[in-house]
């Protein structure tokens, strides 16, 4: 007892800390994990800024959209990262320069009858991966339709990546690589031929996207950014909503003053 007490109390303490911290940490994990899974709270302990990128997957049904994503996400799968509930929405974080790019990959249903829902999926996307099957000429036509739609209605500056999947079946190829390259060049898109089956060019496809994403403004990161943006939004929207009713105007005015004074 005495001996122990005469040792540096600090060491005793830190020893205790370490012992308990392990259990404590796992405890926190248990408590917090569901929350993180659902709300995608960023863990800021990593020094790198995390850039969330929404990526939408477009293309005919059966061309292997989700296979590409599964291959991308599940190769070198990090079990520390909470997996998503299904393959329609998957995430993967990759380092890119001074940032971490967290891809939030939105799969879409390729059937024609769901076509009208696509805008909900691609809006707000930083990038779109448009997939065709090199053994099906039809799927390349569909791809062109998607490109056209994105050009017209898609987000400005969306990075487009064309993936000719199933390149392991090149002996029954219907779409020449040359065609795809020429087309991609004409629209300024990335193009690769991939094989989700054999894990060919999958990483490269996403690396290509990463490279075209402009770096994040350090001060517009995460929640701070959201708050700032929100503030601007409220101001601009106040103007349009102000005519709706009296009290609202009063409230809004107070708030816009606040917002202004905070700017």
């Amino acid at each position: 007892m005495k001996g122990m007490k005469q040792t540096n109390p600090g060491t005793t303490e830190s020893k205790l800390e370490t012992v308990h911290v392990t259990s404590m940490d796992s405890l926190i994990k248990i408590i917090m994990l569901p929350l993180q899974t659902a709300l995608k709270i960023d863990n800021p302990r990593t020094g790198l800024a995390k850039h969330k990128l929404k990526v939408c997957l477009l293309g005919d049904t059966g061309v292997g959209k989700s296979s590409i994503v599964c291959r991308f996400v599940q190769d070198h799968f990090d079990h520390n990262i909470s997996p998503t509930i299904g393959a329609s929405f998957m995430t993967k974080t990759v380092p890119c320069g001074n940032e971490l790019h967290k891809f939030l990959i939105w799969d879409t249903a390729g059937q024609e009858r769901f076509h009208s829902l696509a805008p909900m999926y691609y809006r707000g996307s930083a990038a779109a991966v448009i997939v065709y099957d090199i053994t099906k000429q039809d799927s390349f036509h569909t791809l062109k339709k998607w490109v056209k739609e994105l050009k017209e209605h898609g987000p400005e500056n969306i990075v487009m990546a064309i993936a000719g999947n199933k390149c392991d079946l090149s002996d029954i190829r219907e779409v020449p690589l040359k065609d795809a390259k020429e087309y991609a060049e004409s629209i300024g898109a990335i193009v690769v031929e991939t094989s989700a089956k054999n894990a060919v060019n999958i990483e490269e496809l996403f690396q290509g996207i990463s490279r075209q994403i402009p770096p994040l403004d350090p001060h517009e990161n995460g929640n701070n950014g959201a708050i700032k943006l929100g503030k601007q939004t409220s101001q601009t929207e106040l103007a349009t909503d102000a005519d709706l009713d009296g009290v609202d105007i009063v409230l809004s005015n107070q708030l816009s003053e606040l917002a202004l004074s905070c700017m």
Binding site: M1, K2, K5, N8, P9, G10, E13, S14, L16, E17, H20, V21, I28, A38, L39, K40, I41, D42, N43, P44, K54, T61, S66, C70, I85, G86, A87, S88, F89, L104, W106, D107, T108, A109, G110, Q111, R113, L117, P119, M120, R123, G124, H153, G154, P155, E156, G222, N223, I227, G230, Q232, T233, S234, E237, T240, L244, V247, D248, L255, A259
Partner: protein, 907 residues
């Protein structure tokens, strides 16, 4: 030994009489103050006096023995003697001083928590302060919160910045492995323990000596002005009357010594040493748990054992510093209690020297360890009284011996220490025991009632600077401190610690540890949310007014919104605005930044908004949504279509994978019902995710195959149809519109989108056009949602096609050309005409106007109409029509026919 007589006298006389007694001689005076302490207690309880009078002279020795350690210690810090010429003595003070450091920090944060202060302002303020004074502010350079600490003037620069690291759940000092649940705890800890700091933080004197919440409030009122106000005078000035002039020197010396010691240790430690003392980034949640554990090691065992074993020296010794350089935190933790004890004891009656000798004999069997610096300091103090240096060495034992009397952690079985102490004293007589028991009991009571609130007691933590005698028993402080740490919530200081005396101490403390661990992780956020929710009810706050006015306005004015989307979007906007207000305003007290790490503030505020805005409005919103959907017939349509879809088999809906059976659908329905009960959109989304997860599980059916959207969306549509719940429509709408926009890109947003899409498909499902496109109405809704999302992102994008209008330009000679123009919803036809004149380079715009070509007829639009509204109206017609906006000559009707024939591009 006249002890008992004095005891009687003291207990019998008033404080005034007491002071006259003290005039006689110093020793008496000291004893006087000691007994005055007892007297105070006695008079408060109203029994002690009687019991003391009964004391038999034979008890003399025993009682003297009992008190001996105390007296011994008292003798070493004689300066207190004179300090006590002021009416209150240390014992009295300590008993009435019930504010912990944490309390003080909480009350006075407007003084030291100055997040808006810039570098120059901080320097300006701190320059005038004594070393150890600090401010917490946000450094623009580091983009972090920092502690700006005033250094002693011989340190080169006058202040140093220590960055505060914020993780998702904790605050810590950069370079330290110790993390805290909030800023107050962090600061409180560094008031006691320096850890990575050169010395402990010091509270401004006025705050340090404040005894009541009112005093603290007064100080807090001053805010930043406190620093320049007269309230914040240097400790030397206001405390001067409390410090005897002749002894001031000695005291100063010791203070100097301490200071030097503190500074000295940082000087001798190389950076690498400093690094070694840290746990290198390991996340350590030390505060509640480990202080407790540690204090138990030392003081806990000390308390239990010392009374029984007269040689408490061994147990006391751990309190002396270890031979090798200790990590600063521990050093100061242990330094401070001891010093404060010295202080306290100083006010005790000075016993004759032979007592001291006896103390030495009985308490110190081992050769005294080399007095650590702080003991030397104490010795220096005692020197003034002429006591032997050895006395200083005995002190640890002495203090240990005294602990059971005054201290005792809450929950400690009360009767134990006293008999033990009596036994240890050697000659307990049966008659003497009752009165002492009584006295002791009362003391214990006192300490129990005070120990929790005395936790983190200021003075104990300020050994370097303040030698005022109003310290409480350091050990009990220490106990209490760790205890309070573990009990957590500083926002609602516990009024009392009603400890059960049944639970064994160790069990209790273990329980406390566990609860402490939880509360320190959970409470800052929950506390904050609770606080905001309470504030939202309080109409005296601006925030409360905003929220209450808005809520009651919405409830009373059902007609104020034209559509369900409009209503929900307005509410969402209001929440976002109020959130912004809260994060910027100073209405939150304490500021949210002090409790919640920065990257979590928005999350916490969002939850608070749900609680204080959505919770009261939930019923109203649901009723309104129902009303809207019943009124516009969409529920009727949905109901019919649900019926149709349910009659389809899965394959007809494009489902070619296993589908949930009846039992699974029932499970899903239960989840959806639960969802309806929630007011928080986030929690609703969580349930939606669970439903989707279940669907995936059924689809995969242990095949290990992963299904993408091609398969999932049809199944989801099928499941939603099977559930046959009209309310799901409003649930999805509620979530989509009210969910924090920043979450819309995540998993929740994805499945919400999918669910919305599935419902849209169902709504538009018709026998003959099962696989046809969405109605334009649904598209419009999609667009609106899109608009919200894009405007929230504030990136103006082309895809926001609601803001665009395709206008054809028809010229007699050149035929027809079309252009897409940026036309916002509130832009009038007049403005559009102007725009067209520019874009199409028309020289005589007055001859042209905007026409709508629809149903094979031309309509000239009047100047005050809104083309976008007209477009939206046309889009929302059940049967979409072909229409064109055409900019053409007003008198060019004859060519209308030509245009009509050629038109195919416009719209």
């Amino acid at each position: 030994m006249c002890c008992v007589q004095e005891l009687e006298a003291c207990s019998g006389v008033s404080v005034g009489k007491m002071s006259s007694l003290t005039m006689k001689d110093r020793g008496l005076d000291k004893r006087g103050s000691f007994f005055k302490l007892i007297d105070t207690i006695a008079s408060e309880i109203g029994e002690l006096k009687q019991e003391m009078v009964q004391t038999d002279p034979t008890v003399e020795d025993e009682s003297a023995d009992l008190r001996r350690p105390v007296k011994d210690m008292g003798s070493v810090s004689p300066e207190k003697n004179d300090v006590k010429s002021c009416p209150r003595d240390s014992g009295y003070d300590s008993l009435s001083n019930k504010l912990s450091i944490l309390d003080k920090l909480l009350h006075t944060h407007p003084v030291w928590l100055q997040l808006g202060l810039n570098d120059a302002e901080a320097v300006e303020i701190l320059q005038a302060q004594p070393p150890g004074i600090f401010l917490v502010r946000k450094s623009a350079r580091l983009q972090k919160k920092v502690i700006s600490l005033r250094l002693p003037s011989d340190c080169g620069s006058c202040l140093k910045e220590f960055a505060i690291k914020e993780s998702t759940y904790t605050f810590s000092l950069e370079g330290s492995g110790i993390s805290f649940a909030d800023l107050f705890r962090l600061i409180a800890f560094y008031c006691i323990s320096r850890d990575v700091l050169p010395f402990t933080l010091k509270l401004p004197h006025a705050i340090a000596v404040a005894r009541t919440e009112a005093e603290l409030e007064e100080i807090a009122q001053l805010g930043l002005n406190f620093w320049s106000s007269s309230a914040n005078s240097n400790p030397a000035d206001p405390s001067a009357p409390r410090r005897p002039a002749p002894l001031d020197g000695a005291c100063k010396d010791s203070r100097q010594l301490c200071l030097i010691n503190g500074v000295h240790s940082i000087r001798t430690r190389t950076p690498s040493e400093l690094e070694c003392s840290q746990t290198n980034g390991a996340l350590c949640f030390i505060n509640p748990l480990f202080l407790k554990v540690h204090s138990q090691d030392v003081s806990g065992s000390l308390k239990r054992q010392s009374p029984r074993a007269p040689d408490a020296n061994g147990t006391a010794r751990p309190r002396s510093p270890p031979p090798r350089p200790p990590p600063p935190s521990i050093n100061s933790i242990f330094t401070s209690p001891q010093l404060s004890r010295t202080i306290k004891q100083a006010s005790m009656p000075e016993t004759v020297n032979h007592k001291k000798e006896r103390g030495l004999d009985s308490l110190q069997h081992k050769p005294a360890p080399i007095p650590p610096p702080r003991l030397k300091k104490q010795a220096a103090c005692s020197e003034a009284e002429g006591s032997a240096r050895a006395a200083a060495v005995t002190r640890p034992g002495g203090s240990a011996g005294r602990v059971p009397e005054a201290a005792g952690i809450p929950g400690e079985p009360l009767p134990e220490p006293a008999p033990a102490a009596a036994r240890s004293a050697g000659a307990p007589s049966s008659e003497s025991q009752p009165p002492w028991d009584g006295g002791r009991q009362r003391l214990s009571d006192m300490s129990i009632s005070t120990s929790s609130s005395d936790s983190l007691d200021f003075d104990r933590s300020m050994p370097l600077f303040g030698y005022e005698g109003d310290t409480n028993s350091s050990l009990e402080d220490f106990e209490g401190e760790s205890d309070q740490e573990s009990m957590a919530p500083p926002l609602k200081p516990k009024k009392k610690r009603n400890s059960s005396f049944v639970l064994p101490k160790i069990v209790k403390s273990q329980l406390r540890k566990v609860s402490g661990v939880f509360s320190s992780f959970m409470t800052p956020e929950k506390r904050m949310i609770k606080k905001i929710a309470e504030m939202s009810q309080d109409k005296r706050t601006y925030f409360g007014c905003l929220v209450q006015d808005y809520v009651s306005f919405l409830q009373e004015n059902k007609e104020c919104h034209v559509s369900s989307t409009d209503m929900l979007q307005t509410i969402r906007q209001f929440m976002t605005q109020v959130k912004n207000y809260l994060s910027q305003s100073s209405e939150l007290d304490p500021p949210i930044e002090s409790l919640i790490p920065e990257d979590q503030i928005d999350v916490v505020l969002e939850k608070a908004m749900h609680k204080c805005i959505l919770k009261p409005l939930k019923g109203h919103i649901e009723a309104m949504l129902k009303e809207f959907h019943t009124a516009d017939g969409s529920w009727k349509q949905l109901k019919e279509n649900l019926q149709l879809v349910r009659q389809r088999n899965p394959q007809e809906l494009g489902v070619f994978v296993p589908t949930p059976d009846f039992v699974d659908v029932e499970k899903i329905k239960v989840k959806f019902m639960t969802m309806q009960k929630m007011y928080s959109p986030e929690k609703k989304v969580m349930l939606l995710l669970r439903v989707c997860k279940l669907i995936y599980t059924v689809m995969e059916n242990n095949s290990g195959r992963l299904y993408g959207a091609d398969d999932f969306l049809p199944v989801l549509t099928y499941v939603i149809a099977q559930c046959d719940m009209l309310e799901l429509d409003t649930e999805i709408e509620y979530m989509m519109e009210l969910l924090d926009p920043s979450l819309l890109h995540g998993e929740g947003g994805y499945y919400l989108t999918s669910a919305y899409g599935a419902l849209s498909l169902i709504k538009n499902f018709q026998e003959e056009q099962a696989a046809r496109l969405l109605s334009s109405e649904a598209r419009d809704t999609l667009r609106q949602w899109h608009k919200r999302r894009t405007t929230n992102r504030m990136i103006p994008s082309v895809d926001d096609f609601q803001n665009y209008l395709r206008v054809a330009f028809q010229e007699v000679n050149s035929g027809c050309t079309g252009k897409t123009l940026l036309v916002r919803p509130y832009i009038t036809t007049e403005d559009v005409c102007q725009l067209c004149a520019e874009k199409f380079k028309v020289d005589n715009p007055e001859e042209y106007s905007l026409f709508l070509f629809v149903d094979d007829t031309w309509q000239q639009l009047t100047e005050d109409t809104y083309p976008q509204k007209i477009k939206a109206e046309l889009h929302s017609r059940p049967q979409p029509q072909v229409f064109h906006f055409v900019y053409k000559r007003i008198n060019s009707d004859p060519y209308g026919a030509i245009f009509q024939n050629n038109s195919d591009s416009a719209s």
